[in-house]
Symmetry: C2
Subunit: 107 residues, 2 copies
């Protein structure tokens, strides 16, 4: 199983990938979603750096749309590569989750 240590650092990226996959969305909304999930110590800026990274890796498509309440929103959607990446992420996650449960159960 390769890439798992990579993902130990990359859970947030996977979470954001999944959120985007649910429906096209933008940074500010993702941030509040994470906050609602209880990840309230994730800094605002962090989400945008992840988003920029996803864009650079070409896992998402971006489109600016007007907001009624503020500046333009940058909407993100997963492309094919993004969906592959997301599937891989969940596979790695399940692997780790399984190992963690074994470890915990052995206590």
């Amino acid at each position: 199983m390769n890439g798992t240590t990579e993902m130990l650092k990359g859970i947030l990226e996977g979470i954001i990938l999944e959120i985007i996959n649910e429906h096209e969305t933008y940074g500010y909304e993702i941030t509040s979603r994470l906050q609602q999930m209880g990840f309230d110590d994730i800094a605002q800026g962090t989400v945008y750096t992840v988003l920029l990274r996803l864009e650079k890796k070409q896992l998402v498509t971006v489109s600016s749309k007007k907001s009624t309440q503020g500046p333009m929103r940058k909407f993100y959607a997963l492309n094919a590569a993004g969906q592959v990446e997301l599937a891989t992420f969940w596979q790695r996650w399940q692997f780790i989750e399984g190992q963690m449960n074994t470890l915990k159960g052995a206590k």
Copy 2:
């Protein structure tokens, strides 16, 4: 819930803490244990840097013992602070695991 983002980077440290908690052990053994678990892309050096960190944070006690097959082994055991840290780690882990399942289930 605080410290969770910290732990996204710190799963390995928690795993090692748990392994040590099972029984007093040393770096080389931990490395092979991780390898057996399927974390075969964890570099040898990484384990030792984690171990050194645990020592610096004063979460473990260390004692050198002779080996019949090679150089001295440095055995690690959790102290009280280490056990507290381990408990905290599992709490954070369960939180994240729960959130991840919710996220995944919503697909």
